[in-house]
């Protein structure tokens, strides 16, 4: 399952990331923010103006926003 399919309020563990689908700076930023293989994230909120995009993730004590296209490159398993 990819991260963009995780419903709001659910947690998931990142098992793989297809970095090739992301722009280099974006990949670097995501890693710096802790969105990387092994981390557990919680889908906290989703955008409102159609398409439920972007997505707000809870990572540890931090909240990080990213878009559905980024989440689609992230493979997760239920945590």
């Amino acid at each position: 399952m990819t991260l963009d399919r995780v419903p709001v309020g659910h947690s998931a563990r990142i098992v793989a990331v297809d970095w090739s689908r992301l722009v280099e700076e974006e990949a670097q930023r995501l890693q710096a923010l802790g969105v990387d293989v092994g981390s557990t994230v919680e889908v906290a909120h989703r955008g409102v103006f159609g398409g439920s995009d972007p997505i707000a993730l809870g990572i540890g004590r931090m909240t990080v926003a990213l878009r559905k296209v980024h989440a689609a490159a992230i493979e997760v398993e239920a945590a």
Partner: protein, 628 residues
Amino acid sequence: MLPRSKWKRPEVGEPASPVTTVALVGNPNAGKSALFNALTGARQKIANYPGVTVERKAGRMLLPGGEAVTLLDLPGAYSLFAASPDEEVTSKAIFGEFEGDEAPQVLVVVVDAANLEQHLVFAQEVIALGRPTVMALNMLDLAERDGLVIDPHALSEALGVPVVPTIAVRRKGLVELGAAIAEVAGHEEHHRPATSLAERRVTAQAIAQGAIISETARHRLHSRLDRLFLHPWLGPLILFAALFVVFQAVFSGAEPFVAVLEDLVARLIGLVRDLLPAGLVRDLLTDGVLAGVGAVIVFLPQIVILFFFILAMEASGYMARAAFLMDRLMSRVGLSGRSFIPLLSSFACAVPGIMATRSISDPKDRLTTILIAPLMTCSARLPVYTMIIAAFIPNRNVGLGMGLQGLVLLGLYAFGIVGAMLAALLLRRTVTKGVASGFIMELPKYQLPRASDLLLGLAQRVLIFLRRAGTIILTVTVVLWLLLNFPRAGEGQDQVDASIAGYTANGLAVVLKPIGFNRDIALALIPAMAAREVAVSSLATTYAVSAASEDAQAQALGTQLKSHWSLATALAFLAWFVFAPQCMSTIAVTRRETNGWKWPALMLGYLFGLAYLAAGLTYWTAVWLGLG
């Protein structure tokens, strides 16, 4: 940098401090700026780093021994390996790569106590440099609010650097931090082995877990607030309500202050008239200097109120939520939620707005935002809009507590926004074509903004505005007054027609005539290239000079306009200013941000084209409707 002459040098006999420069380093949202303000007070100087337009904030800080050091507040970064212009500045400043700047002898790593496992990742990278380093365990109060108890000693032992708990907003731990800086200052550098990001992350987690004594699973205030502010339908409702309150406050809240300022300017003019003998000097002072600068200064209250809200939204953490909510809409025109913050700031002034675009990592995205930022109705347009609206639009109630004047003003704002969105759409498909931009950002914790931080930020912006009024606008109005008054008119000839300025404007008026602009407008538009609000002072000066009698001179500018302009012309003038890029500072900052003349030239071209078209369409429609 502060001039060295202002430094308090150590007294003879005191041990000379080897440390002269200290830098605050840390993740974004670690509370660095609040700590910087608390440590330096108002003794700070904001400038730009050479070559880039990232703000360089330097201040003077006193160590407990009385030695003064320069404290640098470096931009927030996630890594020394730069992924954005901000991060590049941070790593260059740390290594002393900016000309004229020395590398800081002591680094203060600022971490958010409530976000240790994340902030320790970058902190390790900084500590590994081996420079004398102190850690400020900041925002301890917010961590406690989250139910966290942290042991600074355990943290210090694990990291091998002194750790000082600080609460910048309550000025706690500042003396201790100073003492720690002085203590490590003499330490020798000892590099530590470089580690990979993955290694640092594992270590950060382990260290954070070891330092956290207890953690109560408490419902965190911040996630509860997010549930409200990011709620599917309450969230947008709150955002639009907030924006409505801001603009309402800007326009009605400022009124009493504007009235006081207007009165003050009028009294000053009266005073000068009474004190000085009639003549050119007196006219220069009253019609040139006071009428010109006065017409602009009266907008200070609105600017202060607008900036107050923008600063408060930024400091509270709400601005990032607004970006989150707006991302989807912005993506429709090829932008991201990140553009929302620069664009919102552009409602105050496009210059800080354009400078704020450097937080956008995608270059095409950033360029598009820069190009459309001048379409946001900045505070400099307010003088123009308010003047025309007050003179030509009847003060009628159109129901729902809304006046017709307010409605027209709102329409002008909307016009600018729609224009900006269309322009973005077009630009993204042509000159700034590229892959769809992304949106990745941290949503910081909510915080009650500290009054003194807000006041400091406000004071800095007011100063910039006043300096502008005092220099550019003053110079321009005085020059215009001179051009308007020389050569002197002969018997029975109009002074404006006889003057150099009038002569030039007559030429320009030929081009502007089709869109309903008269000679006086052409005359006002030339100096208004420097700044939009100059149009008001220029019109004031023009009509003051051409007024035949003292009585006519004393007439309010609005009355003068009404007798010289048709409604169609007035409306076309408003439409012109929605688009026209009449601001030297915006052009200059665009050139600086884009490193060349190509983009500012494009900006000038497309915006003047749109302005001409918009004014023309407005004029022709109005005439067709019989308003000519």
